[in-house]
Each structure stands twice: as structure tokens, then as C-alpha cells.
């Protein structure tokens, strides 16, 4: 399967006509001095794929070793992860519609990229997510209801990042790539063999911070894997508004490898991420993984994708659905029976119910939470403002009491 059609790389205002940075004039043909040739070669990227959309397992001598030991049970586990993540995500979307959440950023369509990469991490690894990595959070054992606090508006994150080595969601695009790199530098200093994985989107690749992170990681040879979920859209902007060439190629310019993986293939995502984490642990430094996937829903519940993209596109991608694909494989290989699917269905419903109930029971924060945690060691002005606020609040109580 090739997907290049959805990743057109023509520059927007090329007066020349040639696309993609290929220097085709007579004098532009020697490859070693100029990077032209390599760039040209790789504008026709090949995805790493281990499962076709039809669920057929295809051999890949390079990455097969990373999933060699995988059992039918493991496969069912990955399937279960994806199904439950999707169920959780759907529940959150509907909770937003019911007014229980202020906003939701759905991962619909990106389950394989997230579960595959998330399951590749080791317990002592550390994850730096964006705001959409609900599936990765699931793999890390973060209680999914924890993710909902910020979308409900009761906190700005708030879970303990060190509880599951899963950092807080970061909204300012790209910032966390540097945090991940710094954390990874710390791992090296500690002499540990853990690794870090930093998630970001195709849009984020344009930010200075992400590129600085690439460079710091390369220079310090930091054990960090950059995992870019290219879901084809940054809100309303498609890939060609962010980049002239496929994103995985960016890594090369900083001196580390980049790989494009089929992000709708959970097995390939798992294998490639294991490869990258392994080499990071071994001290071979950073790698960039571009997981080629698709945001099947809106950017967030506030978004209206009909303004900027056609339905056909989504429909085409539905044929590559990550969950369907693994189900076909499981069924064809007789790795799962009706019982399994039935139980999972029930488990899904239970999860949905639990999430629904937990969200509805989530109390509004106490108003004094305004002043909590602005500082760790206290701040005189905050103390003063808190005291004034308390007196002000008390004045209402007095007034009411006095009536």
C-alpha cells in the first residue's frame, strides 16, 4: 500500500514547476556535495508496514525481529487496548456533547500509532504527550478519567507525572519536545538505560522548539524517540502547508535516523518504536518516527472539518482503520473467537459507564484552589491575595448570615 497521494509535496508557489526540492538543472546532478539526490530519492517514501489494511501479515526483514516473539495473546492485548481506547474516546466525545466536558480532542483513527508505540515503552521509560495521547496514557496505566479533568475544566492536568512516567498534557505546540530531550539528557547523566518518547503532530514539526529539540538531542546523543503522529491535518491545514518533504526526512538533517511507519498498523508501530527505543537505550541517540495516520474526527469538539476537507478523504481512510485491520488479522489467523470479541464488547461498555459516572461525579474545585500551587515555596503576594479573597468571600457569608 502506498499513501503518497495524501501527502502531496509540491511547494505552494513554485514558479519553476519542478516539485520537491529536486534540482534538475544540468549542473545539479552530483550527489555528494549537494544533498539533492538523497532528497529526491526519498520524496517517494515507503511506509514500514507489517499488516496490510486487509489484515495480512507482510514480511519485513528489518522490523520483523522486533515483533518476533509476539503471541496471539499479545495481539489480542493490542486489539483490546485499541478497542477500549476508542470506546473511552467516544465516551468523552459524547460527554462533551452532553455538556459534561468543555472540550475534547479525539484520537479517533490514531489508535494503532498510540497503542503500538505506547506498548513499546518500558516501565522506566518516560512519555511526553501532546493533548491527544489518550491511547498512550492507557498503555502507561494512567486512569483514563484522569485525562478528563482539564477538558472538564476542573484542573490543567493535575495527575502525578511520576506516577506512571507519563508527563502532563502540553497544549503549547512543541514545547514538550524540549522537556523530553532534557529529561533524556538527565537519564544519560544518571547512567540509566531508560529512554524517553516525545509525541507531537505534523503541525508541531514547524515549531522552532521541535527543531531545537532535534538538535539538542543529536548533539547530546540523548536517548529520546521523537514520535510524530502525522494525522494529515493541523486543524484546517494539510501537510503541504507545514512541510515541503515528508516529515521523517527532517531527522537526517540533524544527524539521526528517521522512519515513516504506517500509523494505522499497530504491529508496525510497535516494532519501529521498539527499534528506536532499543537503540536509544544502547546509547545510539535519538530517532524520529513519523507515524502516517489520519485524524478521522474533528480537530476537537469545537472544530468543523467540513469547512476544509472532503468526506471522501475520511472515507478512504476508513478502509485503513487500525482496529478493523487487526481484527481481520486475528480472525484470519484464528487468534480470537466470538467469545473474545463479546467479552471485549462488555468490557468496553463497562469502561464507558465507569468513565461517564466518574466524570459526572467530578466535583468542581474549591475556589481557594485558585491560589494553590502557584508556588512550591510560597509567595507573599499570593498569601495576601488569598487572605483578601477569603475576607471578601466571608463578607458574603456575613451578609447572608446577617439577613
Amino acid at each position: 500500500m502506498t499513501v503518497e497521494s495524501t501527502a502531496a509535496h509540491k511547494p505552494r508557489r513554485s514558479a519553476g514547476g519542478k516539485t520537491g526540492g529536486t534540482g534538475t538543472k544540468a549542473t545539479g546532478t552530483t550527489g555528494t556535495k549537494r544533498t539533492t539526490r538523497a532528497a529526491k530519492k526519498s520524496t517517494d517514501p515507503q511506509l514500514v508496514q507489517l499488516l496490510t489494511p486487509e489484515g495480512e501479515r507482510v514480511a519485513n526483514p528489518e522490523y520483523d525481529p522486533y515483533v518476533a516473539g509476539i503471541t496471539p495473546e499479545d495481539l489480542r492485548g493490542l486489539y483490546r487496548d485499541m478497542v477500549l481506547t476508542r470506546r473511552f474516546d467516544a465516551e468523552a466525545t459524547s460527554l462533551q456533547r452532553q455538556g459534561e466536558l468543555g472540550l475534547w480532542a479525539s484520537l479517533l483513527g490514531q489508535e494503532a500509532a498510540q497503542i503500538g508505540s505506547g506498548r513499546a515503552t518500558r516501565e522506566d521509560d518516560y512519555v511526553f504527550p501532546t493533548y491527544r495521547e489518550h491511547g498512550v496514557a492507557w498503555c502507561r496505566g494512567v486512569d483514563p478519567t484522569n485525562l478528563l479533568g482539564m477538558f472538564r475544566g476542573v484542573n490543567n492536568g493535575g495527575w502525578d507525572p511520576n506516577g506512571n512516567n507519563f508527563h502532563l498534557y502540553t497544549i503549547v505546540i512543541g514545547s514538550q519536545a524540549l522537556h523530553a530531550t532534557g529529561y533524556a539528557m538527565g537519564i544519560t547523566m544518571d547512567g540509566a538505560d531508560s529512554a524517553v518518547i516525545a509525541y507531537f503532530g505534523d503541525g508541531a514539526s514547524s515549531q522552532g522548539d521541535v527543531n531545537e529539540a532535534f538538535n539538542f538531542a543529536a548533539v547530546y546523543n540523548a536517548p529520546v524517540v521523537f514520535f510524530c503522529q502525522n494525522n494529515q491535518w493541523a486543524i484546517s491545514e494539510s501537510n503541504e502547508k507545514q512541510t515541503r518533504v515528508p516529515l521523517y526526512q527532517r531527522a537526517q538533517g540533524f544527524g539521526f535516523p528517521g522512519v515513516r511507519v504506517d500509523g494505522n498498523d499497530v504491529l508496525a508501530s510497535l516494532a519501529v518504536t521498539r527499534w528506536a527505543l532499543d537503540r536509544a537505550r544502547r546509547g545510539e541517540g535519538p530517532a524520529l518516527i513519523e507515524a502516517f495516520t489520519y485524524r478521522m474526527g474533528a480537530h476537537t469538539t469545537s472544530d468543523d472539518p467540513s469547512r476544509y476537507r472532503h468526506d471522501d478523504e475520511r472515507i478512504a481512510w476508513e478502509a485503513k482503520d487500525p482496529i478493523l485491520r487487526l481484527r481481520r488479522h486475528l480472525e484470519a489467523a484464528n487468534h480470537a473467537d466470538e467469545g473474545f470479541f463479546g467479552e471485549l464488547e462488555a468490557e468496553s461498555e463497562a469502561l464507558g459507564r465507569r468513565v461517564r459516572e466518574a466524570v459526572r461525579a467530578m466535583p468542581d474545585p474549591d475556589r481557594f484552589a485558585l491560589f494553590e500551587h502557584a508556588y512550591a515555596d510560597g509567595h507573599a503576594l499570593v498569601d495576601e491575595e488569598r487572605a483578601r479573597f477569603a475576607a471578601y468571600q466571608a463578607s458574603f457569608a456575613d451578609a447572608e448570615g446577617g439577613q
Binding site: 468543555g102 482539564m150 492536568g157 503549547v172 515549531q207 491545514e237 469547512r307 468542581d364
Partner: protein, 325 residues
């Protein structure tokens, strides 16, 4: 001919007018094209003026402002959109060290007619970084002008004037007022961009505000009127420069001043206003200038923002405290 329209629509019309009348005007930003921006302020502009005039940019605020500077050097007049207040910071370096200083660095030989539009402020129940009021961080920087309209008509006209200005203008749009409607007369003759305006006359105390807080001050004045108190409201409109003459005249009449803004009080606009008005009108003040604004804490999650933002009661409380002197 005056027409009633929402504040967001007024800006849209103003941008449209500028794009029509001056081929050098450009609109740039994330999602400003087909989507029309997340608030639809640029709705329909790319369709009518094309991708070369209404430009979807890569997701990189420093890049947006930095290339806008280059376009201005080439003779263009870019109007740049920052998607939300909290996302202006990646562009802060380009704004502070380049945009603000280029004209002076060149001893006047180049101009920087760049408008940076920033939907700002809270009250819409948004997630982190989507509700902040960072205007003080721009007002402190020489070389920038900083304005914020409070209604549709000002939004229309101040945008026209900001685009015509040869100086960089940071244009703070009160996002929670985007849907508020008001009369806009595109044939009116507007007052100066940096003049404050007395939007309600009164005798007992002056309320000074701008952007989203002007509407709140009107409600406060109404409530106070019911208690027999006559409040004057000055809509500052411009935060750099501040029209201290108009404000001083009001304060010397009412002898009391309360400044209201959403931004944190500490080092906020209210501080500068209090300091300067106290210096200008020391013997006229019956009470210290009081300030109502945000607390010295990160903007809270949505379920707490009503506690954080100035509201009717908090402003009335400050009015009471001032009148008690």
C-alpha cells in the same frame, strides 16, 4: 450606512475593506484561510482575495511574525493572527527585539506597519493558555502600540487605523465579546486611535477599563445607579499610549478611580494608571486608585474562572471601598 453586526464580523469587514482598498495588505496566520480562523474572524477572505493575500502559515508563531517583518520591509502591510493569547509567546522575541525596534534601529528609514491580532481574555470556558490577558507585557515595550476595542464600531475603526499606522500595533480582541452586536457605520469619521472615550458620564467615581471589561463596567454603573451612585466610565481603548489627559479630567471631576482589567493586578495596566494618575492628580484624589483584576496565579481551569475574573460584585466592592475613604 450603519449596520448592526457582531464584533467579530466588524473585524472581518474591516479586514475585507483593507484588503480591497490596499493591495499591500495581507492577512496571515494559522487556519486563517479556508477555516476562517478558529473564531471565523477571517471567514471568506481567502475565498475572495486568494491564497496570496490571505495566507495559511506553518504552525510557528515566531516564523509568522518574523516573515511578516520581512514582508513589511518589502512594502507589505501584514495583519497577523495569533490564534490565542497564550500562543503569542513563541513570537515574543521577534515582536520585542525586532518588530518594536526596527524603525528606531534604522533611524526612521524603514517602517513596520504590522498588526498583530490577538484574541484575548477569558470567560469562554476554555482550556489552559486560551484565556490570558498579556497586554502589560507589550505595553512595557517601547516601539509597540497596544490597543483593545470594546465594541463592534471600535473594532471596525480601530482595525482600519491600526492597519494604516506605520507603527506595529498589537491588537487585542476581546474574544468573549466577539458575538456581541453593535452598530458599525463604515462612513463615519472615527476619532483618533489612541484616544480614550467617556462612555458614560457620572460624578461620584471613575471606572477605567478597556476591551472586555467595558461592558462589565456598564453593568456595574447600572447596579450602582440603583444604589444612587453615579459612576463615570472611561473606555481607554489604547493601552500604549494611554490617554491620560482624558482620564485625568474624569478623575479630577469624580475624585475617585477604580481600574478594571482581567490581567493579573501585579505589574498590570492598573499599576501604571494608578501611579500616573496619582502623580498627575495627587491633590484631587479622595481615595487611592483601586485596582480590580486577576490574581497572581496562573489563569485557572474553566470551572474556576468566574472566581478569578472581575465580576459585578468584585468591582462594586472596590467602588464601595473607594467611596468609603
Amino acid at each position: 450606512m450603519a449596520e448592526k453586526m457582531a464584533l467579530a464580523k466588524a473585524i472581518n469587514e474591516s479586514l475585507r475593506h483593507a484588503l480591497e482598498t490596499d493591495p499591500k495588505v495581507l492577512v496571515m496566520g494559522e487556519d486563517v484561510g479556508k477555516l476562517g480562523g478558529v473564531f471565523r474572524v477571517t471567514d471568506g477572505l481567502q475565498k475572495d482575495f486568494g491564497e496570496n493575500r490571505v495566507i495559511d502559515t506553518p504552525l510557528a508563531e515566531s516564523g509568522i511574525v518574523g516573515t511578516a517583518i520581512g514582508l513589511a520591509l518589502r512594502g507589505y502591510r501584514p495583519v497577523v493572527e495569533i490564534q490565542f493569547d497564550g500562543f503569542v509567546f513563541p513570537a515574543y522575541d521577534q515582536i520585542v527585539t525586532q518588530l518594536a525596534k526596527m524603525h528606531a534601529r534604522a533611524l526612521g528609514k524603514v517602517k513596520m506597519p504590522v498588526v498583530v491580532r490577538i484574541p484575548y481574555g477569558g470567560g469562554i470556558g476554555a482550556v489552559e493558555h486560551h484565556s490570558e490577558s498579556p497586554e502589560a507585557l507589550f505595553a512595557h515595550v517601547a516601539g509597540l502600540k497596544v490597543v483593545s476595542p470594546s465594541d463592534a464600531s471600535d473594532a471596525y475603526w480601530m482595525m482600519q487605523q491600526a492597519i494604516q499606522s506605520d507603527d506595529p500595533v498589537i491588537f487585542f480582541e476581546p474574544k468573549r465579546r466577539y458575538w456581541d452586536k453593535g452598530e458599525v457605520d463604515p462612513e463615519a469619521i472615527p476619532g483618533p486611535l489612541h484616544a480614550a472615550r467617556v462612555v458614560r458620564e457620572g460624578t461620584d467615581l471613575t471606572l477605567a477599563a478597556y476591551g472586555p471589561m467595558v461592558k462589565l463596567c456598564r453593568e456595574v454603573a447600572d447596579a450602582a445607579a440603583e444604589e444612587g451612585r453615579s459612576l463615570e466610565i472611561v473606555d481607554l481603548r489604547s493601552i500604549s499610549p494611554i490617554d491620560f489627559d482624558t482620564l485625568q479630567a474624569s478623575v479630577e471631576k469624580t475624585r475617585r478611580l477604580v481600574v478594571v482589567h482581567e490581567a493579573p493586578v501585579f505589574f498590570g495596566s492598573g499599576a501604571e494608571i494608578a501611579a500616573r494618575i496619582t502623580e498627575r492628580s495627587f491633590y484631587h484624589l479622595e481615595a487611592p486608585v483601586l485596582r480590580v483584576g486577576g490574581y497572581h496565579a496562573p489563569y485557572p481551569p474553566a470551572r474556576l474562572e468566574e472566581e478569578y475574573l472581575p465580576d459585578l460584585d468584585r468591582v462594586l466592592d472596590a467602588v464601595d471601598r473607594s467611596l468609603a475613604y
